[in-house]
Symmetry: C2
Subunit: 372 residues, 2 copies
């Protein structure tokens, strides 16, 4: 199966095999060395000299952890949302009693840093800005550098969901002065899901000291204290740490600049390929994601039919739309382990399948014939 959902991503065999190593004592020397190496390599890729904490959870756990470690009930926060994952961050802040000011942008578009600045200028009580870097549900990448600059003009905390971007597209955490940035093992890291990572800088640690939202499992103080001994406070996902150790070595071997260039090239190739089939990109192209491409389901086609046909006849697994976008878009994941051949296969599968599920628009008669 050519697994082209935006996570879990395919994992290299050596990464999977590393995860199948026998268990070890999670409080022993051998495992401490794994945590030490993984943490050092994560810090390199996050481009931060500050802390990168690891949590046994999926990405949503890291989102919750970031909220409850930084805020107190009643704190005013600006929640920027451009899709389902921005909405999720908003819901978490609300669930824990933050006073949420919503700043939504239409799905398919990116957040406007100017609008964020406006919102901050109107309310000096806002304590933090929650924002998604790469919105997996719409295939849009926000300009976090510009957003962070706007937030820092007002000296507020910025908490960034980079779950589906970190490690795949450049995100220099310290240069962009982002206080809390999260990611998840099953995205660009080419590992199974179950491990989440969060960077925490000095400003974030200061905020953490004042933050009164209730927490235990996610508590950053406990996590940091354990990490100083290269441990986790609770029993960590040992097998996923083993996978991550090897995956990070592979990433360093390939080189981050090479990975970023590959991701960019593949993003472009996916978008050009989709358009050449007569389909429309869902995301505004100026902010189209290089890790996931959302495509508008053309008229006359049922998204479910298309996805099923492509899976059953071509062994290519695509993702549908989420929440309000169900049936309206389909998504091609291209982060982590992905080659140009993988995308060619996706495009060929689309070319052959679209006419079978009712699509003719956009394809010239000749193209349709070629596709058959």
């Amino acid at each position: 199966m050519n697994l082209r959902v935006p996570g879990p991503t395919p994992c290299p065999d050596v990464v999977l095999q590393a995860g199948a190593a026998p268990m070890v004592n999670h409080r022993g020397k051998e495992f401490a060395a794994v945590i030490e190496e993984v943490t050092a390599n994560l810090k390199e890729i996050f481009q931060t000299k500050h802390d990168v904490l690891t949590l046994t959870a999926s990405g949503t756990g890291a989102m919750e952890a970031s909220v409850v470690n930084m805020l107190s009930p009643g704190d005013k926060v600006l929640c920027v949302s451009i899709g389902a994952f921005g909405d999720r961050l908003t819901s978490i802040a609300e669930a824990f009693g933050a006073q949420v000011i919503k700043l939504p942008f239409p799905v398919g578009t990116a957040a406007d840093p100017g609008a964020i600045k406006d919102a901050l200028s109107k309310d000096s009580e806002i304590k933090a800005v929650l924002v998604t870097h790469n919105e997996t549900s719409t295939g849009v990448t926000n300009d976090i550098q510009a957003i962070s600059k706007a937030v820092k003009e007002y000296d507020k905390l910025i908490i960034v969901d980079a779950i589906s971007s970190m490690g795949s597209v450049p995100f220099p955490v310290d240069d962009w002065d982002c206080d809390v940035v999260m990611s998840g093992s099953q995205k660009g890291w080419m590992c199974p899901p179950g491990l989440a990572m969060v960077s925490v800088n000095e400003r974030a640690w200061e905020a953490h000291k004042q933050a009164k939202m209730p927490r235990f499992y996610w508590d950053f103080t406990q996590t940091k204290r354990s990490l100083e001994r290269n441990e986790n406070p609770w029993t960590p996902a040992v097998s996923i740490f083993f996978s991550m150790q090897v995956a990070l070595r592979l990433m360093k071997e390939e080189g981050m600049e090479v990975i970023y260039a590959r991701q960019e090239k593949i993003g472009k190739m996916t978008r050009e390929g989709v358009k050449s089939l007569g389909l429309s990109l869902f995301a505004e192209e100026s902010h189209a994601s290089n890790t996931v491409t959302a495509v508008t389901v053309p008229e006359g086609v049922q998204a479910g039919d298309l996805i099923r046909t492509i899976r059953d006849e071509h062994a290519v697994e695509l993702a549908g739309g989420q929440a309000s976008l169900t049936g309206k878009i389909f998504r091609i994941g291209h982060l982590g382990l992905v080659t140009e051949e993988d995308i060619t296969q996706v495009l060929e599968a689309l070319r052959e399948s679209l006419p079978k599920v009712g699509f003719s628009g956009g394809l010239t008669a000749k193209t349709v014939q070629e596709a058959r």
Copy 2:
């Protein structure tokens, strides 16, 4: 390495290899079938016809989930503790604003159901009782059947940490009328850590409806709603689900009664073996655990020296004491994948190592000679 810490436990090769299978779409049919099978088998072993939810987290995550889904801030709860994990459950309840009434028992002893009944009779406002089944830090198993009976006489909710017992010792959840019972993949289930499971009965669902502690990642309503489609609300630990699928098949093949008998026999063998070396069991023997044995570090011996010697010279990994018991006890894990040969190796390692680290008491001259 003969890994004899009380979790992570050794995993059978087929279980590890199952976890190394290629990733799949966590919202696809193939993975739904895995969740369906795992859930059905978990229910069988929990001996419940009610729900068993799966969470991507370690056991402590399941503890937090159980608290925040059942209680509201200000709720009065009776926290029974016989060691570090009972204390942890207490700390979680406190962190989320419960009004905690502590009922501690001396480490090494079991909780007295009569004392629990007394506490309940004195305060009708108590809403729930939090209690550990098998206290991993002291090697004591509480009599949950009797405790649950006491709790039910007062019609209160009982929330049980069975993380290191479920699947290894009999715990018929419905028969014993326990409302919320949790476990973790890295214990008797012979899987890597990262997946936690929680059973929830009707009384617990009623309590959940009123429970106002803030939650998002752990929310049982969301988990149950997704589970109805054989999904998890967030990206689950796919590889550990794969492992769990195979591990549960192995457990059913061996037969639960056979497993329980094996665990009982091995527990007894461990305790008898330890005593025959002239060492003292830390736990009161009437309630000694069949999954972990705590041994008092004899006078003149440094726990660290003993553990290190046994690891370096015999490739046997034991656990030290936790919190206040650091240096005072060492622990032998014998849950999940464990044979009599594994325990014989532990006892031989102890027999040979003890004299080297300063122990002579209890061993006759002849025994010491034999050991050398």
